[in-house]
């Protein structure tokens, strides 16, 4: 009905609050005076009339209060009053306030830090208009399963989609050039470069910050324009706007800068690019006419924007038809047309659209989504524990405040009003904790980004708090404040003023003792879950560290060189690498040196090929052998410490040999030539000259697999001496005796060969191995930190409970001692209570701990989710900490002097 009238009245009352107060005064004054005048008229003397009028009116202040209530003004007024009162009370007990705020800040800060990382990696939308319309194209391949999809297409797919798809308002494609060298005024530098079709920025809806972005016609043969990212423009060109129109050299080729993207523009999480060139500029770097025609290749990212009102499923249905028809056409004219596996691929592959509102498929997100969600849960539990801790503090304080609360109730305060006032106090503490937590999160978020960065520069993630993070913190603080404030407030006001005032602050009711214990037991339970999780992740990390990867991890330094960056054509690249290897090998303190395509525990390359012919006999389709492969210089095996079990290493003889030579690992030898001596046999025409011990090609998490080693400087069949050189960077491995100054010496050695050749990925094998455990280390470190924090908070809770119990039972303990109880029995009395709490917490905690460890199964290594040893250790640790926490209270209890105790509290 009159909602509007009510609102108006409330607004009027609130806005003109002081006006209303005086209006109310005037009205009541008029009433009293008018009544007094009537009385005077009836013959009562003036003074007496006023007195009588006031008496008959009743409590004026009470009437005013009720009037205010009637208008709903009291809410705001009470709130400001409560706020002032709350601030005053909190100031009066600075110890409680500081501890509560700090505890909460830790909990909120930890949660917010993890959330800000989760937000940056998983949740944040791309900074473009209507990001929810963006989709990325992928296709499945048989056997269709959750892992069997690919997001890289060949160029004919892009052409066909752009010509035939009607449901999308735009489709763009592109690929990464990876690392390029950028020369400007003679100074070199490295940058990350992508090549995209010229509708890239238009489809995304990005407007230039300076100059212009790609326009139709830019993507043509000989394309020579480049767009810079805001970050690169600032770091390399000091945000100089006059760079637009100037020429820079990308891998020694001239490009004209046409514009700058807005800040924060990126289409991947954690994959910031510095430069964008048109797709057809690829031909200037590496001419390859086949690139635009070849079918069944995977190098092109395709994405687009759904047309208005088009659903993902509709677009997917249309695109799937185009994809499948094209595949069928391609197979019909392909050399693979008779192969059953290719026929199966074409028959079963489907196009799938991925929503790309939060960015294109990202390796970083893939790797960290689950760990971050898990850590978010962990942080949430820590927050819960801190809330329980603060609730305990508030409870303890409430029992001290009983006389105050009783007095206020006796004076006529309503209970709801008192609860509201106590809650306001809690919310004040929560707000302060939240603000401080935000500061902790700010610092912690940056720390977390450094933790997950392995490369030469930190992962480009923006974890500075944005609106979602602020909102999250505010919500968490508010929820926390209500959580830890409400129960104590309700219970603290359940006071019967009479007896409470008489007896003072001593003693609480039975139900409150129970509540204290439940709260502490909850802490114990949550801590157990957390330290069990920490234990499982720590064990995983330890297990990974102890895997024998088949390399000698110590005393190996590695660095990468890419001849292309210094403008070397493919033909001259081998000579450059050979020269660098020679220089590096003679550095002082170097025992041996080698160069290879894939480095040990590589995070860049994973090369896979198929062996189709053994000793001249072609393997039938479907029986070809899938191998991982690597190509290396002589000396690789002795440098990385992988023994050659039979035959020999590559050597200089192989360089000019007319027929190819290869080395196989044990697994490959066993698979291809079971029970035979493989030396001298031929794989795809190349002679096997040695068998190397199995090493784990992709790192500690892998099982041994067949690996084929090729001679880097020789090539397939000896026909092309640079067959394996020139496609990308090569990695050098140096076994050293002393590392001091080595990196500088390496730089000088490379510079002495060619001053324009940059080196990167400089890392020891140990560091490389450690970095491959990054995710596990992140989980282990953070969960251990949180577990420790939880344990600390739980032990504080236990200590508080026990200290209070001893204080409360001083008289009882004194009496027991007076009656002849021994000290040991008194100690047992207290310890027993502690142990019961731990037991209760553990019984509840173990089933709870099993659940998340099952969820985390994909992240574990060499340990089952529910590991009995970890559980036992956790319970033991918890018990130890609990006993430690009750040590001081126990000591106090055991030193109680019966005479003093009995007098003190008779």
């Amino acid at each position: 009905m009159n909602l509007w009238a009510r609102l108006r009245s409330w607004l009027r009352a609130t806005l003109k609050h002081s006006g209303m107060a005086s209006e109310m005064d005037a009205e009541l004054r008029f009433h009293v005076e008018a009544y007094a005048e009537d009385l005077v008229r009836g013959g009562v003397p003036h003074q007496e009339a006023m007195r009588q009028a006031r008496i008959e009116f009743g409590g004026i202040e009470r009437a005013k209060e009720e009037c205010r209530d009637a208008r709903g003004v009291n809410f705001i007024e009470n709130f400001t009053q409560d706020l002032r009162f709350g601030l005053r009370t909190l100031r009066k007990s600075p110890g409680f306030t500081a501890v509560a705020i700090l505890t909460l800040a830790l909990g909120i800060g930890a949660t917010t830090a993890i959330f800000s990382l989760l937000n940056a990696v998983v949740l944040r939308l791309l900074p473009v208009p209507n990001p929810q319309q963006l989709v990325q194209f992928t296709y499945t391949f048989p056997p269709n399963g959750p892992e069997n999809w690919n997001s890289w297409f060949g160029y004919p797919h892009l052409e066909r989609f752009r010509r035939q798809a009607g449901m999308l308002s735009g489709i763009f494609g592109g690929t990464g050039l990876n690392r390029v060298s950028v020369g400007w005024h003679g100074s070199p530098g490295l940058a990350q470069c992508d090549a995209y079709t010229d509708n890239f920025f238009a489809v995304l809806g990005v407007a230039p910050q300076q100059g212009r972005l790609f326009a139709p016609g830019d993507d043509r043969e000989g394309a020579d324009v480049v767009v810079l990212s805001d970050r690169y423009w600032r770091s390399r060109f000091a945000a100089d706007p006059s760079i637009i129109g100037q020429t820079i050299l990308i891998d020694q080729l001239p490009f004209t800068v046409i514009g700058i993207t807005p800040p924060k523009f990126s289409i991947y999480v954690g994959g910031a690019r510095d430069l964008w060139v048109p797709l057809h500029a690829l031909d200037r770097f590496t001419p390859d006419p086949n690139r635009w025609r070849a079918s069944f290749t995977s190098w092109l990212l395709i994405a687009g924007r759904l047309g208005p009102g088009v659903s993902l499923a509709q677009a997917e249905a249309e695109l799937d038809i185009i994809h499948r028809r094209l595949y069928a056409e391609q197979l019909a004219v392909s050399e693979y047309r008779d192969s059953q596996s290719w026929q199966r691929l074409v028959r079963e592959s489907h196009l799938v659209l991925h929503p790309a509102a939060t960015g294109m498929v990202s390796g970083l997100r893939h790797a960290y989504e689950l760990p971050l969600k898990l850590l978010m849960g962990v942080a949430g539990m820590v927050l819960l524990i801190t809330c329980v801790n603060v609730a305990n503090l508030v409870l303890a304080r409430a029992s001290h405040r009983r006389p105050e609360i009783a007095l206020r109730m006796a004076l006529g305060s309503g209970r709801a009003r008192l609860i509201r006032q106590l809650l306001t106090e809690s919310l004040l503490v929560a707000t302060a904790g939240g603000a401080l937590g935000l500061v902790i999160a700010w610092w912690g978020g940056a720390l977390l980004v450094r933790m997950i960065s392995t490369g030469d520069s930190p992962v480009p993630l923006d974890v500075r708090p944005d609106w979602p993070v602020f909102g999250f913190t505010a919500a968490v603080s508010l929820a926390g404040g209500i959580l830890f404030g409400l129960v104590p407030a309700i219970r603290g006001t359940r006071v019967d003023p009479g007896p409470a005032l008489q007896r003072g602050a001593r003693g609480t009711t039975g139900s409150s003792r129970f509540l204290d214990r439940v709260l502490v037991a909850v802490q114990v339970t949550l801590s157990l879950v957390l330290i069990t999780g920490a234990g499982i992740f720590t064990r995983t990390l330890e297990n990974l560290r102890h895997v024998d990867v088949g390399y000698q991890r110590d005393n190996i330094l590695m660095f990468s060189v890419d001849a292309k960056l210094a403008g070397y054509p493919k033909e001259r690249a081998s000579a450059l690498y050979g020269a660098i290897l020679e220089k590096a090998a003679i550095l002082p303190g170097i025992q041996s040196a080698s160069v290879s395509t894939v480095r040990p525990v590589d995070d860049q390359y994973y090369l896979v090929d198929r062996i189709r012919q053994v000793d001249g006999r072609a393997l039938p389709d479907g029986e070809t052998i899938k191998v991982a492969w690597n190509a290396m210089s002589p000396g690789y095996f002795s440098t990385v410490g992988t023994p050659i079990l039979m035959g020999r290493d590559f050597d200089l003889r192989d360089r000019g040999a007319t027929s190819g030579v290869v080395i196989v690992n044990e697994s490959l030898a066993r698979q291809v030539l079971p029970g035979q001596n493989p030396i001298g046999h031929r794989l795809d025409g190349a002679e096997i000259i040695g068998v190397a011990k199995d090493s784990l090609y992709g790192g500690a998490r892998e099982q041994p697999r067949p690996v084929l080693y090729r001679a880097l400087f020789q090539g397939k069949g000896g026909t092309d001496p640079s067959q394996w050189v020139g496609a990308g960077a090569l990695s050098f491995e140096l076994r050293y005796r002393s590392r001091a100054g080595l990196v500088d010496e390496v730089r000088q050695a490379v510079a002495s060969v060619d001053g324009h050749v940059p080196i990167f990925h400089v890392k020891t094998l140990r560091a490389q191995t450690e970095d491959s455990f990054l995710r596990e280390r992140l989980l282990a470190t953070i969960s251990s930190f949180f577990g420790g924090l939880a344990l600390l908070l739980a032990s504080l809770g236990l200590y508080g409970l026990m200290a209070y119990a001893v204080a409360r039972r001083t008289a009882e303990i004194g009496l027991r001692m007076a009656l002849g109880a021994r000290r040991r029995e008194i100690i047992w009395l207290i310890v027993r209570e502690t142990l019961w709490l731990v037991l209760a917490g553990a019984v509840a905690g173990i089933p709870l701990a099993v659940w998340p460890s099952r969820y985390a199964k994909a992240l574990l290594f060499g340990i089952a989710g529910a590991d009995p040893v970890v559980f036992a250790t956790s319970v033991a640790a918890l018990t130890g900490v609990a006993v430690l926490a009750s040590f001081l209270p126990v000591r106090r209890a055991s030193r109680i002097d019966p005479m003093v105790a009995l007098r003190y509290d008779g």
């Binding site: 009159n2 009238a5 009510r6 009245s9 109310m24 009205e27 008029f30 009433h31 009720e66």
Partner: protein, 113 residues
């Protein structure tokens, strides 16, 4: 939409509304009016009158304005709004039958039952 009021409060509200329906009155004038109508049989505490008026005002049943009183003082005068008038009518319609029944009860003899 109305909060349930306790019996006493709702009676007082109704009484005040009835009083206001007689014309634009100050709160004090209303009290006198009620006493007159009830022939002094209804003794009303003065203090609670004001919260009742403020409640009615807040709900938009009555409206108020400041004006000169008979003895040249400014006083606040209350008036029923259209919504208040409607509400009063429905209540009167509901109240009269009940009042009739209640009024009949004391005079009823056992034989009549």
């Amino acid at each position: 939409m109305d909060k349930p009021l306790d019996l006493l409060q709702s009676r007082l509200d109704r009484l005040m509304r009835t009083a206001v329906s007689l014309g634009s009155l100050s709160a004090y004038g209303m009290l006198l009016g009620i006493q007159q109508i009830s022939k002094n049989r209804l003794e009303i505490q003065q203090g609670p009158v004001y919260p009742a008026l403020y409640r009615l005002d807040h709900r938009g049943r009555i409206t108020s304005e400041w004006d000169e009183s008979e003895n040249n003082r400014t006083a606040k005068y209350y008036r029923l709004t259209a919504a208040g008038m409607r509400r009063l009518q429905t209540e009167v319609e509901k109240w009269n039958p009940i009042a009739d029944v209640i009024a009949g009860i004391p005079g009823t003899t056992p034989e009549e039952v």
